[in-house]
């Protein structure tokens, strides 16, 4: 009823290619953003630090993975490695450059991750699919190993663990969950908007062209070299910023082994389940992967009346994610994002079927 296009005519192409051509979507988005900003006034500290903050951060990382895999079609199993680069760069920038603003440090960490991403993206020029996946595994293992073995990255801390400095912005120390949440929300919202702009513009068309038919992409004048490396760089940038936030706004104390291949797979799942090649899917997928264990815990608790072994939860989780990936591949490759879109389309026509 309320979700209608009627009466909204687009009179120019510029208007038609706005981010959100429908007024309802614009209002909805504004509302959502407002709600997101207000959350700390209603949610408790646990919700903020254990769910909202990691959700936003992992969404950002998933977005990065999605740019590379969903849009540019380059399978990568190394996103956690790039997160690690971001996390440790940020720590070192703040440690070694006196008075560097936090936001600048975060952006520079993203840039470091992007540079590393370009290096490990080089093989993508000759290979794809599983071959590329193995090359990205190389980056995953190599990065974590280097951060682990070279003490400089950790400022020679004997425990092998770093403690992220406090977030200081314009002289204010932001260390309550709510304050950290707002920092994360701000960064994630801006980066998501930028990603959306790229994805729906010429940049995104270039990525998808490479993904769908590389010879034809070349024939339209696209340089595969530049496009692929660009996708690797931007994707790693997002992962790097996500990693920095992961360390500074979520984990606090960080060791290289926090960024294992397990995490990479988790991020991969977020993207596949959320929806390859969609921005919103990254958020849906991250939320899903994060919430499932929590719900499973509650579910098993309700079922057996007591908490079950964590290993059973994690094994059931694996089965569930695996089954979902297979089913999405078979029935709906666009994942949760597509289901969301279908619901919206229903709403648009509701109450008339056709």
């Amino acid at each position: 009823m309320f979700y209608r296009e009627t009466g909204q005519f687009r009179t120019s192409y510029a208007q038609d290619s706005q981010i959100l051509p429908l007024r309802q979507d614009r209002i909805g988005m504004a509302f959502l953003l407002l709600a997101a900003i207000m959350i700390p006034f209603v949610a408790n500290a646990y919700w903020l630090s254990a769910i909202m903050i990691p959700w936003l951060i992992l969404s950002l990382v998933a977005l990065g993975q999605n740019i590379l895999m969903g849009y540019a079609g380059q399978l990568s199993l190394g996103s956690a490695g790039f997160m690690a680069v971001g996390a440790f760069s940020c720590y070192n920038f703040i440690l070694r450059i006196d008075g560097i603003p936090f936001i600048v440090a975060v952006i520079l960490s993203g840039v470091c991750a992007a540079l590393v991403g370009i290096v490990f993206g080089l093989p993508s020029l000759r290979i794809r699919g599983l071959y590329l996946a193995v090359a990205t595994l190389a980056s995953q293992f190599f990065i974590v190993w280097s951060l682990d073995k070279f003490g400089w990255f950790k400022n020679y801390d004997p425990s092998g663990v770093i403690t992220a400095q406090k977030i200081v912005i314009m002289g204010y120390t932001l260390d309550t969950p709510a304050q950290k949440y707002w920092v994360v929300l701000g960064i994630v919202a801006v980066l998501a908007l930028l990603a959306k702009n790229m994805a729906r513009g010429s940049v995104g068309r270039g990525w998808m062209a490479v993904r769908d038919m590389d010879v034809a992409a070349e024939v339209t004048g696209l340089s595969l070299l530049r496009t692929k490396l660009q996708a690797f760089a931007i994707s790693s940038f997002y992962c790097g910023v996500g990693g920095a936030l992961f360390a500074f706004a979520y984990l606090q104390t960080v060791e290289p082994s926090a960024f294992t291949i397990d995490l990479s797979f988790r991020i991969l799942f977020m993207v596949i389940i959320g929806g390859l090649g969609t921005i919103i899917g990254s958020f849906l997928g991250a939320g899903f992967i994060l919430l499932v264990p929590i719900f499973m815990n509650i579910f098993f608790h309700g079922l057996f009346g007591h908490a079950v072994d964590a290993s059973i939860i994690s094994a059931s989780e694996q089965v569930l994610f695996g089954v979902m990936i297979i089913s999405f591949m078979i029935f709906e490759p666009l994942g949760l994002a597509r289901l969301w879109q279908l619901t919206k389309e229903r709403l648009r026509l509701w109450p008339f079927k056709h």
Binding site: R128, G129, L130, A135, L137, F142, I326
Partner: protein, 300 residues
């Protein structure tokens, strides 16, 4: 012991773990040759197979019965995979299939742990993981009996498969399928049977690989990471070549161990964690089709 003998000892140890990487990779090649699917789940199948085998033995079945039961189980897994994962995706592109088998990996791993638990188990094959006495007495080299045994079993397995491929009707059928599905159909081989057979064979290979690894370092989840090293082996060897992956397996095993032993200490160890992958990347840049793989030509 002289430096040279020590080198030999390291090399032999490396070569033997290489044989086992090759064994995991072999299961991969079988499936790839017959159905052009990158079965990412081969490593998970290794875990599942050996966990099931040990689990069934714990139920009180004797060795051979447990072995048969585990084989039967692997055949079922293969058939189910073929029916529920691959068949619905038959005309999809490689990346979709790959992602589906990544999903399958997690299903199999999850089911394995739900069914058999997460504890590390010992697998006693009646061969002890001890140095061979006379070698130690004569040369001072520590070469494990188990490793040698594993090498022999793996060698036998590979030879048997190679014979199966080249000498039997099934093998010829398999190669026909690999070359051209319609051609295989036209010479009267039911595709479905062949695929099932391939999956079953891959399952058995996985079981053998799992048992050998398991006897050496315990039956546990970490096997999955060992199995992951089959991926660089495959890339170096080429996805379609049995001799290729065997040589690549040996190469990876020998080089990672030698480098770990001789260079690892300078970096605080752990070099073997990433070395095979980086080696694979170098190969990719130089010879993307692998040692013996066929050159990929793009057609438009």
């Amino acid at each position: 012991m002289t430096g040279f003998l020590f080198f030999i000892e390291v090399l032999v140890g490396g070569l033997l773990s290489g044989v086992m990487y090759a064994l995991v990779a072999l299961g991969f090649v079988l499936i790839y040759k017959a159905s052009s699917v990158f079965n990412f789940a081969q490593g998970a199948m290794v875990l599942f197979a050996v966990l099931s085998f040990v689990g069934i033995m714990e139920l009180g079945l004797p060795f051979w019965a447990a072995l048969l039961a585990a084989i039967g189980l692997m055949v079922l897994v293969g058939m189910a995979t073929e029916r529920f994962v691959l068949r619905p995706l038959v005309s999809q592109n490689e990346d979709t299939l790959l992602m589906a088998t990544i999903g399958l990996t997690f299903v199999i791993e999850g089911v394995a742990q739900l069914a058999w638990g997460v504890d590390v188990r010992n697998l006693d094959l009646g061969i002890r993981d001890e140095p061979i006495g006379w070698v130690m007495d004569k040369t001072g080299m520590l070469i494990s009996q188990l490793d040698i045994m594993a090498g022999i079993v793996a060698g036998a397995m590979v030879t048997a498969l190679a014979l199966l491929f080249s000498r039997t009707k099934i093998g010829r059928g398999l190669r026909a399928v690999a070359d051209d599905h319609t051609a295989a159909l036209s010479i009267g081989i039911p595709l479905k049977h062949i695929w099932m057979l391939v999956w079953a064979t891959a399952g058995v290979v996985a079981l053998v690989a799992g048992m050998l690894w398991g006897a050496r370092s315990g039956v546990q989840f970490a096997l999955v990471w060992v199995a992951l090293k089959a991926l660089p082996v495959l890339i170096i060897g080429g996805f379609t070549s049995i001799p290729g992956v065997i040589i690549a397996g040996l190469l990876v095993g020998a080089s990672e161990k030698t480098i770990e032993v001789y260079f690892g200490p300078y970096f605080g160890g752990g070099v073997e964690v990433w070395f095979p992958y980086v080696l694979a990347v170098f190969f990719l840049l130089i010879r993307p089709e692998g040692l013996f793989g066929e050159k990929i030509i793009r057609r438009v």
